[in-house]
Assembly symmetry: C2
Homo-oligomer: 142 residues x 2
Amino acid sequence: MSPTSEELLRSHGLRVTRPRLAVLEVLAAGGHHEVDEIAQAVRLRLDSVSTQAVYDVLGALSRAGLARRIEPAGSAALFEARAGDNHHHVVCRSCGEVADVECAVGEAPCLDPGATGGFEVDEAEVTFWGLCPACQGRRADD
Amino acid sequence: MSPTSEELLRSHGLRVTRPRLAVLEVLAAGGHHEVDEIAQAVRLRLDSVSTQAVYDVLGALSRAGLARRIEPAGSAALFEARAGDNHHHVVCRSCGEVADVECAVGEAPCLDPGATGGFEVDEAEVTFWGLCPACQGRRADD
DNA sequence: CACCGAATCTTGAACCGTTCCAGGTAGCGT
DNA sequence: ACGCTACCTGGAACGGTTCAAGATTCGGTG
């Protein structure tokens, strides 16, 4: 069974606070969200939370491995609950919609680059670009 | 033999102007550069070029396929001359250094995602993360 | 070779997401 | 219950990028 948000925080050495619980629950609902969206959703649950607090919380959760930050070129930072399972993303060139893509290879780093010029690689981040179903329909509208 | 910068521009339907020639030559020298670096390098060749012009030129070159824009999470936009050959990048987590990595698979999109949720994928962008040779040495300094 | 329309460049300011700062507040171990 | 910190608040600052209006230049035409 999945642990409660409170247990998650404690087990990762983080203090349990209302903003953190709220952010965790918003992320747990799934999807990829901008900081602003998260802030708004959190404010529906709590009376008021500063933008700064949301950034801090998201930073803390990311560092603890409870959230993952992605940043597709041209977009603001997005956060998602899935972290540590090495999955990837498809981004729509037209509307920016993001969806998860399972890692077809397996373990991280799931790709073995040939010559890396001496770099010590620990992760391979893959971003697929294309058109989401909705934008395929209205292709001419760009 | 490789075409001159002027021929490149003309063959891609772009007007030949001093700023464009200068930017192309800076990029042709290789590497991955920020807009600001490019602007400075260009100003060594021409008397003065506005920052805006550099952005416009880089945008035009990217659209024409003469330059490629990459944007590793946490960095400003970088531009490089190699475009259309579907190669990838390694980024140093410590200093941000970027190096090219040949595509191990071949044709674009060089990865075949399994389930893409209906997305029509046309490109797979791979970013490897790790430590560059220099930063491996001073690992403790972070 | 002069002319014209469209593309391009200049200057200067606005924008947006993110981060920094100083101070008050609240979680949690003792 | 107390104190140490980590955390949250509010407001201002920042950097990269983009927008806007107008002058200039490119390149095809007559």
